[in-house]
């Protein structure tokens, strides 16, 4: 039940875009058409689902306070958590590289669809943000961490596809000149965020 709760909350309540503004750069730059935004959304979800369990294991068995005690009891007082930024970003960058190579080798069709987005994901704040929030929330087991990754990814996908659909339609509407493009996108994202706040307090 706890796992279902994490899943639902991470999609709607703690939405990466609307509640924490993570991944905004690619969210704003890529959301011009629905098709490309679906591709990027799937890629982000994919990388989140792979990196979160790895970073969870790293955090639990290497970085956290006393996490190294499985190696020898003398190391129980070690706290390496100040290293987590550099290790998390290294893991993310290398996973993205591996995912890129695997996808290119086995499913060339998907690779050409995702194209340039895959390498860019390494510097997407939503991915590193997912790992840092995971560390802060201190989940009980690896299943919950993976579920959190999947939920956050789906939440991000929903947000970017939603804004892309609105932006496609907006080309027919009369927006004041200085607001066109970036400005109106910000305001619409804000309004979508207010709409998403309606989900606050959902529990199972």
């Amino acid at each position: 039940m706890e796992t279902v709760n994490i899943f639902i909350r991470s999609i709607f309540v703690d939405n990466m875009v609307f509640a924490y503004f993570l991944g905004m750069c690619s969210y704003l730059a890529v959301s011009k058409t629905v098709k490309t935004s679906i591709g990027l959304g799937i890629a982000v979800t994919f990388v989140l689902v792979i990196t979160l369990p790895i970073n969870y294991l790293l955090d639990t068995y290497v970085l956290g306070p006393g996490a190294l005690s499985w190696l020898s009891p003398e190391l129980a007082s070690m706290d390496l958590s100040f290293l987590s930024f550099i290790l998390f970003i290294a893991i993310i960058a290398s996973i993205v590289q591996i995912v890129e190579m695997v996808v290119e080798k086995f499913t060339p069709a998907l690779y050409s669809q995702l194209g340039i987005f895959l390498p860019l994901i390494a510097v997407n704040c939503a991915i590193l943000g997912g790992s840092l929030f995971m560390q802060q929330k201190s989940f009980d087991n690896i299943g919950q961490a993976t579920t959190y990754g999947l939920g956050s990814g789906i939440g991000w996908l929903l947000a970017i596809v939603g804004i892309a659909a609105i932006r496609e339609h907006m080309s027919y509407s009369k927006v004041p000149k200085p607001l066109r493009g970036l400005g109106i996108t910000f305001i619409i994202t804000g309004l979508m965020g207010i709409a998403f706040m309606g989900f606050m307090g959902i529990k199972f």
Binding site: F18, A19, Y20, F21, L22, G23, M24, C25, L28, A29, F82, L83, S84, F85, I86, F88, I89, A90, A93, P119, A122, V123, N124, C125, I127, L128, G129, L132, F133, Q136, P176, K177, P178, L179, R180, G181, L182, G183, I184, T185, F186, I187, T189, G190, L191, M192, G193, I194, M197
Partner: protein, 205 residues
């Protein structure tokens, strides 16, 4: 200081502002703007990291192989962010707690990668340093405007000090609780872009 160097420093503050013109670094920025104090600390941290990573990458620019430059840049940025985080944790613990994961997210702040790629890889260390300071100030300026608007309208205070007099509240004035909530940061930035582009017509799309 020569005119071109002055331009490197001043341009990013308004004309080439990283946030509202180049659309960089919005990710980790907006969540910290509910109050002025964390926004100011965040702005200073980003400016410091940006200036020094620009200098380091600029010094290394002829030795880094092109294929692995992204990972080298990430390592340099991450190391600097860790230093900043440890300093904040030691000297400004309460602000460190408020900023929480968003300090770590400076690593993936697009301004850093953007400036390293676009400027530091092709310019001398001193110019890169000025570019870093300029862009950091441009970023801090936007954060401060958003934070001042949100804290003033949302809690009636600035830097934690109440500025709206008691008599206003007695006359029926209410703080706008909506301003504290995350979505309003986006709307405030939207309005800043609106004003900025009405003044500078070249930027309109």
């Amino acid at each position: 200081m020569s005119a071109s160097r002055k331009q490197i420093l001043v341009d990013p503050i308004s004309k080439n502002n990283p946030v509202v013109v180049l659309m960089l670094g919005i990710c980790s920025a907006l969540a910290v703007t509910a109050q002025v104090k964390p926004a100011l600390v965040m702005g200073i941290s980003v400016t410091v990291v940006l200036a020094f990573s620009n200098v380091i990458i600029s010094l290394l620019r002829n030795t880094i192989p092109n294929r692995i430059r992204i990972i080298v840049q990430l390592v340099v940025i991450a190391a600097l962010v860790i230093i900043v985080e440890q300093i904040l944790k030691a000297f400004a613990y309460d602000v460190w707690g408020q900023l929480s994961v968003f300090i770590g997210l400076i690593i993936t702040n697009c301004i850093l990668m953007g400036r390293l790629e676009a400027f530091a890889l092709g310019n001398t260390p001193f110019d890169s340093f000025l570019d870093g300071i300029g862009n950091g100030l441009g970023y801090t300026a936007i954060l401060l405007i958003v934070a001042i608007a949100r804290e003033f309208l949302g809690s009636g205070s600035l830097m934690g000090y109440t500025v709206i007099p008691e008599s206003f509240y007695e006359a029926g004035y209410m703080n706008n609780g909506l301003m504290i909530l995350p979505p309003m940061a986006l709307i405030v930035v939207g309005c800043i872009i609106w004003v900025h582009r009405s003044i500078d017509k070249d930027l309109q799309e």
